[in-house]
């Protein structure tokens, strides 16, 4: 390839590449995109897509409550068994000196008496409490699904519509057997 042709090709390539992606959209592109986004925000499919979220949040909260419940130690079950006969063989007998040494006096004296101290007065009432398990779960849910949580928060405060029941009308019974035909 001659130098002149190479230079010509180089020049054309530069200019053609500069023009390659120079495209202007139709007027109002931003408006059309924003309108499409509004549709997306209000799409019922999107709402149903997250319909599982409240159920999942409820499950998480229930699980958290279950794990965080206070665990009291149940007293050991006592099976009703016949008491073993008290015989001399079963009753351990210690020598008199050993029995006296089984629990030294000093140990008994050393047991500390419970002391009651006045609680320090807090500067703020009520005192700030750490987040509960439910609060932490709710926080995690809100951070992961802010839109769904916001939607629920908005709708939860709305009062329910009153239920209306039409008055019941019962036609009187005719003594001669000519009862009116039931209305369909």
């Amino acid at each position: 390839m001659s130098e002149q042709k190479e230079k010509f090709a180089d020049e054309i390539l530069d200019k053609a590449l500069a023009n390659y992606s120079h495209a202007e959209p139709r007027l109002g592109l931003e408006g059309r995109v924003l309108a499409r986004l509004d549709e997306e925000k209000q799409s019922p499919a999107r709402v149903w897509k997250w319909a599982w979220a409240p159920a999942a949040a409820a499950l998480l909260i229930a699980g958290g409550l279950y794990l965080a419940r206070p665990r009291t130690q149940a007293p050991p079950a006592v099976a009703e068994q016949p008491a073993p006969p008290r015989t001399a063989a079963t009753k351990p007998e210690l020598p008199p000196i050993q029995a006296a040494q089984a629990r030294p006096r000093s140990a008994r004296r050393a047991a500390p008496a419970p002391q009651v101290t006045a609680a320090a007065k807090l500067s703020q009432f009520p005192a700030p409490q750490p987040l509960s398990e439910q609060d932490r779960l709710l926080l995690a849910y809100v951070r992961s699904q802010p839109q769904a949580a916001a939607q629920q928060a908005r709708t939860s405060g709305q009062p329910m519509a009153e239920i209306k029941i039409d008055p019941l009308e019962i036609p009187p019974l005719e003594p001669d057997g000519n009862q009116p035909a039931p209305e369909r």
């Binding site: 390839m1 042709k5 190479e6 010509f8 090709a9 180089d10 020049e11 054309i12 390539l13 530069d14 200019k15 053609a16 590449l17 500069a18 023009n19 390659y20 992606s21 120079h22 495209a23 202007e24 959209p25 139709r26 592109l29 931003e30 059309r32 995109v33 924003l34 499409r36 986004l37 997306e40 925000k41 987040l131 509960s132 439910q134 609060d135 709710l138 926080l139 809100v142 951070r143 992961s144 802010p146 839109q147 949580a149 916001a150 629920q152 928060a153 908005r154």
Partner: protein
């Protein structure tokens, strides 16, 4: 109860802030996203569809917007993927299409068209699209994004997930190949 309300209020604020941010991105970068899509799709209608799809994806991931440091390459990356997924025809054009485009350029040249006139002609743009499509994929991606006028090599690298040095190297190789092919076409070869 008060804690729960505070948490919900924070969630509402986050959601609204995310929505505002997406709207700002649309207003500021819609045209840029359009050009990225057009560079791949070469069709106005498809490019606009790709822009819509890109911003819907952004909307769905608006919770991550706070972590995005540079919006332009991030948007370019999404738009690139959307456009590549959307491209109907295979990247490599048929030999027949390339020859048709080359014939159009040769006819213009024979009529005495200068470099400027040739470069902006539809025939040359069609030929260039065919030549770019015939490049290996790694070179094609770099040269296509580099033609979007506002994109720097660093932004192309961020969008494609490759270092800037690699972008420059590939761009150099791509231009060499394109120049050779173009010169051959203009001389009358295939």
């Amino acid at each position: 109860m008060a804690v729960g309300q505070a948490i919900l209020s924070e969630g509402i604020l986050i959601a609204e802030a995310g929505a505002d941010l997406v709207e700002a991105l649309v207003r500021e970068h819609a045209r840029f996203v359009y050009r990225v899509a057009y560079a791949v799709l070469r069709n106005h209608h498809d490019a606009e569809d790709a822009v819509q799809e890109t911003f819907i994806r952004v909307w769905r991931h608006r919770g991550e917007l706070r972590d995005v440091r540079e919006a332009r390459p991030w948007l370019a990356r999404i738009a690139w993927r959307v456009a590549v997924d959307k491209r109907r025809r295979p990247a490599d054009l048929s030999l027949e299409e390339q020859q048709e485009a080359a014939q159009g350029v040769r006819e213009l040249q024979a009529q005495g068209a200068g470099a400027d006139q040739l470069a902006i002609s539809a025939q040359m743009q069609e030929l260039l699209a065919a030549l770019i499509a015939s490049l290996p994929r790694d070179l094609r991606e770099v040269v296509t994004l580099s033609t979007v006028e506002e994109m720097t090599s660093a932004e192309v690298g961020t969008a494609l997930g490759i270092p800037e040095v690699t972008v420059r190297t590939r761009l150099f190789r791509a231009r060499q190949l394109l120049k050779e092919k173009l010169a051959a076409v203009m001389e009358g070869g295939s």
